[in-house]
Symmetry: C2
Subunit: 393 residues, 2 copies
């Protein structure tokens, strides 16, 4: 796709078709403030670019039945979500529906060259599966702060070897299409906004609890990235001045007390020290424990596992209470790997928020689990690049 909208009306029409599917001209006319003739001109121009095509006949609104228009069924976006320990790759159509999706364990600490080799192999596999020949654009998420305009990770704590690596440029060359790079948490927020639980939300927080912990901040429908791209970096907020040492050098950081990594560590220690027969059995069976084991042990009624989740939920809730008082969001979404901990986590977290934040801020505040699971990030990645391509700048 080389075509781009040539004015703001066209950009708006493209986004309407992306988010609402096929429309008749009359329906589009109801959504944009354009005279019928001006609308006709813009739609015709979009048809000429090939971004938009004629579709079936629309339902009659009294007069002659007209053709609907839709985004080209040829358009393909690529979404890549690089986590600390796994990678998701997906192909979407122009409406950002996932046509194909792969997930593989990949350790981000292998560095950008090795990781992108794997990513490109996954892309090839999806291409071979027939979902796409080429891509019109790609969005890439990485688990660390990103200088957004350049698409370059900046001092990402859990990504050795990635600092300053030109992800946007390098992948743009490999893929032969426009690329944007963002923090994985921002992409999860965009994904849930596009197709998940935050669909109509304009001001919300999306807390991702995975290997680490981070927060996507959406203000007025847009991701707030902050002055240096590190907004939402809540993993190192102090929850206990006398708490655990954190890798960052401080004491009592949220992430040191509750995250996928902290859960794995606590569960292993408990298993070895005989404090949880359930976890000990799982450790003996697999040689390693993760948050998934904690979730399973809790589901089996293991008290130690349940306590771990309750305590972690309380600590996270304490931080979210502060953010709710400060930011007064309309919705809080909890996502990431540990959402397998589900309603025990949510209950403990809600208790803290409703107890600690002022009633005015929590009176109408849903705190809910994300809906999209593993495709949240890749959906957000496709949304990110399509927002860029369907805009004028």
């Amino acid at each position: 796709m080389t075509a781009r909208p040539s004015n703001a009306h066209q950009a708006r029409l493209l986004r309407l078709l992306r988010d609402g599917g096929p429309h008749s001209r009359a329906q589009l006319g109801d959504r944009v403030r354009l005279s019928r003739s001006k609308l006709g001109v813009e739609v015709d121009r979009l048809l000429e670019t090939g971004l938009v095509v004629m579709d079936g006949l629309a339902a009659s609104r009294g007069g002659r039945r007209s053709h609907t228009v839709r985004l080209s069924p040829q358009l393909r976006f690529l979404g890549v979500d690089i986590g600390a320990t796994s990678v998701d790759v997906a192909v979407t159509n122009a409406e950002l529906e996932v046509l194909g999706h792969l997930n593989e364990p990949v350790d981000v600490r292998q560095g950008p060259v090795a990781v992108f080799e794997r990513v490109l192999a996954m892309v090839d596999a999806l291409r071979d599966g027939g979902t796409a020949q080429g891509f019109d654009g790609a969005g890439i998420g990485v688990p660390g702060p990103v200088r957004f305009p350049e698409g370059v990770p900046v001092a990402p704590p859990i990504m050795p070897g990635w600092d300053g690596f030109p992800v946007r440029e390098a992948l743009g060359q490999e893929l032969g299409c426009p690329v944007l790079v963002d923090n994985d948490v921002n992409l999860m927020a965009l994904g849930e906004q596009q197709a998940g639980v935050a669909r109509s939300a304009r001001d919300f927080l999306c807390v991702k609890i995975g290997t680490g912990i981070g927060c996507g901040v959406v203000v007025g429908g847009e991701v707030h990235r902050g002055a240096t791209g590190s907004a939402g970096d809540i993993g190192h907020i102090q929850v206990d001045p006398q708490g655990r040492r954190c890798a960052c050098g401080n004491r009592g950081c949220l992430e040191a007390h509750f995250s996928g990594a902290a859960l794995a560590r606590d569960a292993s220690a408990a298993a070895r020290e005989g404090r949880s027969p359930e976890l000990a059995g799982r450790l003996a069976a697999s040689g390693e424990l993760t948050a998934v084991d904690v979730a399973a042990a809790a589901a089996a009624g293991d008290e130690f596992a349940l306590d771990l989740i309750r305590e972690g939920g309380a600590r996270t809730g304490q931080v979210i209470a502060t953010l709710v008082s400060f930011f007064n969001p309309g919705l809080v979404v909890i996502g990431g790997g540990v959402t397998g901990l589900g309603h025990t986590l949510l209950a403990s977290l809600r208790t803290q928020v409703y107890r600690r934040s002022l009633p005015l801020a929590t009176g109408n505040l849903p705190i809910v689990l994300g809906e999209l699971g593993q495709v949240a990030g890749v959906t957000g990645a496709a949304r990110l690049i399509s927002d860029h391509l369907f805009s004028v700048d």
Copy 2:
């Protein structure tokens, strides 16, 4: 003023003239994306409304010298900043320069009727002083959360009798002009952005430490008010789980440990218990201690007063560190009554933020005192209403 801009170009031109003073047509043309003829049409229409007038001759740019245009020198905005214990009222011209300003001690707990009687008397005094006959619009700040569209305080903790009082409507009727109502902290942020230390900042926090403590949140140049208008309500963020009981019913709230009210209480206790000869002398002299006395005692080298300020700065810094990690602002402004505590406060606060927040968020983060002092709020109030009047909606 009944005239309003009739399109977005006119609105933009009015704001340019407000913020940049008189412009020649050529200078305006450089600032807006309009053809010379279209610009001419819009400027002529604004001249017809009387919002804009011809001014002197502009410096030559080669051709014939042309007249500059400016906002009408007849325009007057009213800014009212109601604090917990005092009220500021000011009259500004169209460029938001303060032409007259009054400050009086008023206890907000007297309720809206009594307070507005005083406010209107102050307005009359300014009118009699000759700065204005009538007003084209007024902005009102109150020390509590506000349902912004309606201009109604909502459950404001330190404002008994104000809950649901129709401030916007009541004052609009009294003053005979459009009125907008907002939280006092948001107005301080707008004031510092308009004419103070945050002049070019787009994403910043403005922490007001007065009788209570609150935070104005500016995102992309706009005040972020949150889902229910309570964004920035940071006074009840917990800084110590075993801390002091707060009026809100929780324990260890920031405001219970550090604010004008907390300082006055701590200083009085120390004076009575013989822990500070300096404060004891001041209490004996005036019968009451405030944050001003703590500042004076600190300036005189009183160790107890210095410790109070250092400890309060550290607690506030602890909260700001969290907000900085989360929000990644480009600037933090400290304002309000206790800025008299000045550099001792700032030093202690900075230490916490730079120690606790990640380097990426603090690497380029100025933490500075506000510049406008008592006129920050009223300037912000005038800015608020002029933004509204110089817009299309």
